[in-house]
């Protein structure tokens, strides 16, 4: 692989990583702060995309559609928290998995009823719909660079929000010792609700900005959710910084892995064997990384210290 191709593939990997981070950020906070396993997080990704698509059809303006989509996604997230998830915090993890899995089935079916089973396309905003020649013979859509820039901005913003603001401080405190925070007179329920609503909105945002690169379809968030769980486990549950680093790591490993695994295997095996093993091995790489990380650091790369 030439150097320029390697750089392009790294860019693709970075962009995938950024997308994973946007979904993982909310999930790791909800999981870390509230100890709540929310399998339905991927559903929020799908809802964000479909809502933006719907508002785009009405307004034909991507940015207005995105804004409206996020507001409605936030409302849906908060409503779910109030009516469903709140009653599950005290239950064990198995109950949480069961209940949130039920939500996945329900919402996927609902989306199919409303928008149909076929793939849909959301065009990127007009001003970002051009491309440039990144290497000879390959044009790169500018929209993908915008997604990277937006993702990094969100990451920096989140870092400041969590480490430099009062709410962020409470969130970190809540993650370490929720009983103590509650005893100090902080309304922990409201804090949880803010964290949850914000996390789901972020997942919806990821879905909305990913839609113009890929396509919309029911179940679109479910495959990604598994990868996102790998990200937050590698990064350390509850750690924003860990989620960012792990997301970029996974994004690069997955993309570059798919590009080179088969080529590397061809050095050792005959081409048809390499073609048999390569694709299977490259889809396993991220899980192998997870196993290795967990072997050396069972709490993830950036463990959040918990009291008691």
């Amino acid at each position: 692989m030439s150097m320029s191709l390697f750089l392009v593939q790294s860019l693709n990997g970075l962009q995938f990583g950024i997308l994973l981070f946007l979904i993982a950020a909310g999930l790791t906070l909800v999981f870390g702060v509230m100890g709540f396993i929310n399998l339905a997080h991927g559903v929020q990704y799908m809802i964000g995309a479909y809502l933006t698509f719907m508002f785009f059809q009405w307004t034909t303006n991507f940015f207005i559609a995105l804004l409206l989509g996020m507001i409605v996604a936030l409302i849906i997230g908060l409503a779910c928290e109030m009516f469903i998830f709140r009653h599950l915090y005290q239950r064990n993890h198995l109950d949480q998995v069961l209940a949130t899995f039920g939500i996945i089935l329900f919402v996927n079916e609902l989306v199919k009823v409303i928008w149909g089973p076929s793939s849909l396309i959301l065009p990127p905003p007009e001003i970002f719909s051009w491309s440039f020649e990144i290497i000879e013979g390959l044009r790169y859509p500018i929209y993908r660079l915008v997604v990277i820039a937006v993702g990094i901005t969100v990451a920096v913003g989140l870092y400041f929000a969590v480490f430099k603001t009062r709410v962020g401080m409470l969130v970190r405190a809540g993650a370490t010792n929720p009983e103590m925070v509650s005893a100090l007179g902080v309304d922990i329920k409201r804090l949880f609700m803010i964290v949850f609503g914000f996390g789901t909105m972020l997942a919806g945002f990821a879905g909305a900005i990913a839609a113009p690169m890929f396509s919309l379809e029911p179940n679109m968030g479910d495959d990604l959710l598994i990868t996102v769980f790998v990200v937050i486990i590698i990064g350390g549950i509850g750690s924003i910084r860990g989620a960012f680093i792990a997301a970029v790591l996974i994004g690069l490993l997955d993309t570059l892995g798919r590009a080179v695994t088969t080529d590397i295997l061809r050095l050792f095996f005959d081409p048809s064997t390499a073609n048999q093993i390569g694709p299977a091995l490259s889809s396993m790489l991220i899980y192998i990384l997870m196993a290795v990380v967990l072997f050396f650091k069972p709490e993830g790369l950036f463990p959040v210290h918990r009291a008691g």
């Binding site: 191709l5 089973p117 076929s118 290497i135 044009r139 396509s215 379809e217």
Partner: protein
Amino acid sequence: MRKFLSTTAAAIALAFTTVPVANAADLKVGLVLTLSGPPGALGKQAEDGFNLAVEKLGGSLGGANTTVVVVDDELKPDVALTRVKSLLERDDVDIVVGTIFSNMLAAIYKPVIKADKILISPNAGPSTFAGEKCHPNFFVTSYQNNQNFEALGKYAQDNGVKRVFMLAPNYQAGRDAMNGFKKYFKGDIADEVFTPLGHKDFSAEIAQIATSKSDAVFTFMPGGMGVRFVKQFDEAGLSDKMTFLSAFTVDETTLPAQKDAAVGLFGAGTWAPDFDLDRSKDFVSSFEAKYGYVPGSYAMQAYDAALLIDSAVSAVDGDVSNKEGLMAALKEAKFDSMRGTFTFNNNQYPIQDFYLLNIAKRADGKYQTEIAEKILENSGDSFAAECKM
């Protein structure tokens, strides 16, 4: 299940109200199709195509009052098996029409054949049942899976394509597609890349394609994968630079989403909505009038399956219990196919022409595949010789 209930309910209502008592025995056909999930669009086409034919024939195939029971296999082998068993045991259907996907066919094949019922596939045409394991009760109105890819390989070989980049999902059908293409294509192969099934982002593969110095890309990316791949291929500016040869990647189920990004790309098949035959044009216009979308090959093959049943049942004067006669008449295939002439090979897969298809935007703004040129004429599949029937 809901669909099944409503169809049955409608059938019962129909039986009590409008249909006079007929002398001929009634015919019950069970449709096993994939109707849920993103691939449900393919099953929907087949369901609508079959129902349209039954409706056009006044609710009776070959003079027998026809009840159609539709079940959804959900693209899960265990579900397909349960549903087909209920069709055989509870509904006591005479003929099973299914499936869309080859792995679903593998699940229902044995129970249907064991129950000594007739099985007609409106789409899936795996090599498994085309060779040694062919069976007198099993008919296919579509094609043998490899054939579309073989046709593309032949087109590439005959038209001076020198170097091809091959891309397919990493499962059996993807590997069959690659092998099918290589049957006639003897030029350079830049790379054979397998992606995970349901792959989201093709940017890494597209970067490889762009730098592979190929003059053509060959791919098989059904459903949503095709939508994403075609869009990203077009965004990367590769559509103008290389020939795009594909099957089941740009068709009537994906074009509503791909739109202009697919124009200029090639597919392969046995038929297209612009097929130059009056009855085919009638079929397309009445299909669109009733269902509001353009029928693809999935709809046409199911429509043909219904016409095939019609021809066979009328050959035995509506006496469905005469199974020997019915099967012999099915094998004759004396019906007016939307593809013009239609004959069965010894393995009861069709012998037919294969065409290169291009993508066109119609005057009404909808998109459809159109016949570009004939690649293979009266082509039988590569496995028929192994079938001792």
